[in-house]
């Protein structure tokens, strides 16, 4: 009898794996609707409750504000620069509204991001001939990311100052994060503090651990999600 219960659990588990994707779609829409009206926030703790999940690879992340935030641009450029938050805000802003797709499976529909096109900053710095890639570093002290120069110049790659029509919150990588719309969200490095133009692509933090460097949504990491770019 006990054995039968163990086997029943295994059977239910296997059935759950098979029916999971369909059940998840139902729950995501149902829980999403509940979460919108839930004043306690408890529904956000349930699985598949929708929304962003917080991932940080560092032990703790310092908080930066308009007074002490700096973004440096260096490497193979003619005019290395350091930007304050106010200088970034003074540049032309671009607003994009796309889905956010995490490589672990969650997707947040139609999320607005707003900021300066990375190509604007690269052009201002003057990329030297021979440059092939861009490396991003973060003030959490650990995370890093990379794009090829062609990817970095795309119009849907932003140095984002606003997310969901608010200033980027600390837990979302504020005050400034990268936003690479067509790629899995690990490319959109949080707490961005450094942009270095290099002569080759150097894999970032998760890429050293096996994730794809060219992380196009739906065409990498063994996933077939609908593209976001």
């Amino acid at each position: 009898m006990g054995r039968r219960l163990v086997l029943t659990m295994l059977g239910l588990g296997a059935a759950g794996v098979v029916a999971g994707p369909a059940l998840q779609r139902v729950l995501e829409s149902g829980l999403g609707a509940v979460a919108d009206k839930d004043p306690t926030g408890l529904s956000g703790l349930l699985p598949n409750g929708g929304g962003f999940r917080y991932y940080s690879v560092a032990s703790s992340v310092p908080r930066k504000s308009a007074t002490d935030y700096r973004l440096t641009i260096d490497g193979l450029v003619d005019r290395p620069a350091t930007y304050t938050l106010d200088r970034l805000r003074a540049l032309p802003q671009t607003r994009l509204v796309r889905d956010v797709q995490c490589v672990t499976g969650w997707r947040v529909p139609e999320t607005p991001f707003e900021g300066v096109r990375l190509s604007t900053l690269l052009d201002a710095a003057g990329v030297r001939p021979g440059a092939k890639a861009v490396r991003f570093t973060c003030f959490d002290g650990t995370y890093s990311e990379s794009l090829t120069l062609d990817q970095a110049r795309r119009p849907d790659v932003l140095v984002a100052l606003r997310m969901q029509d608010k200033p980027v919150a600390h837990s979302h990588g504020g005050p400034v994060r990268l936003y690479v719309a067509p790629m899995y969200f690990y490319k959109s490095a949080k707490w961005l503090s450094g942009i270095t133009v290099t002569d080759s692509v150097k894999p970032g933090y998760w890429e050293e651990l096996g994730y794809d460097v060219d992380a196009w949504v739906g065409r990498s990491n063994g996933r077939d999600d609908a593209p976001t770019g």
């Binding site: 009898m1 054995r3 659990m9 295994l10 759950g16 059940l23 560092a58 063994g222």
Partner: protein, 238 residues
């Protein structure tokens, strides 16, 4: 009555009886206690790291995602190992077959629980009551399902994406259920110090055993508890 030197006086009269060596009944062997303790620590580690990965507030506090993931994967994978290693113990195997076997008294026990009947004698149980048997089988199945779905998520090359999505779905929701059931397991242990002592020291008080597990045959006939047929071994409902 004439007093004799050394034996008179009030102390002799009120002295409580010395601890009866047969007042305690052997319940769990050293191997079983080791298996329980090791499994419990692995499970706590696995649940704690799961919470740090899953709950945004804890994730923000702890960070170190790669380290936490590694600890979670290995502690989870190791959870079944102590029990498998413990299978070399005859006492553990005997208790597993007791847990596996449901008798008519177990049905009566479950009915009494449903009616919230707490009268003495209304909840007959052998060495393990029906609730403990259900818990043991449920958590064993749950751990196996979590191990399987966890491996699918860990080694992403093992299966197509649609399986991984399903595995993640099962892993997330079953984790929630396990969290609730484990909390119940620990709350019941917290409410019963003698049951905890049994798992910690290996023996329980005879009157506790008689009250909580009246059909547990061993302690009645054999104070040393080493052998003896248990009434648990009666009618088999498999």
């Amino acid at each position: 009555m004439t007093s004799t030197p050394g034996s008179g006086g009030p102390t002799a009269a009120t002295m409580p009886p010395p601890a009866d060596p047969t007042g305690r009944v052997h319940r769990f062997s050293r191997a079983e206690r080791w298996v329980h303790r090791t499994t419990a620590w692995l499970m706590l580690l696995c649940v704690a790291t799961a919470a740090c990965l899953y709950l945004p507030q804890l994730a923000e506090l702890v960070g170190r995602r790669h380290l936490v993931v590694t600890v979670h994967q290995w502690s989870g994978l190791l959870i079944p190992v102590p029990l498998l290693a413990g299978l070399v113990s005859r006492a553990l195997r005997a208790d597993l077959s007791r847990l596996n076997r449901f008798g008519p008294h177990d049905r009566q026990w479950l009915r009494a629980v449903r009616r919230r009947d707490r009268r003495p004698g209304s909840r007959p149980a052998g060495k393990f009551n029906a609730g403990q048997k259900l818990y043991a089988a449920w958590i064993a199945g749950a751990v196996l399902v979590m191990t399987g779905t966890g491996l699918l998520m860990w080694f992403t090359g093992l299966a197509p994406l649609v399986w991984r999505t399903g595995a993640t779905f099962v892993h997330d929701w079953l984790a929630l259920a396990i969290g609730i059931v484990l909390a119940g397991h620990m709350a019941m242990a917290l409410a019963d110090p003698e049951a905890r002592r049994g798992m910690r020291t290996g023996s329980v008080e005879r009157h506790w055993a008689r009250a909580e597990h009246p059909l547990w045959g061993e302690f009645a006939e054999r104070p040393d508890g080493r052998s003896g047929e248990s009434r648990d071994d009666s009618p088999d409902l498999r």
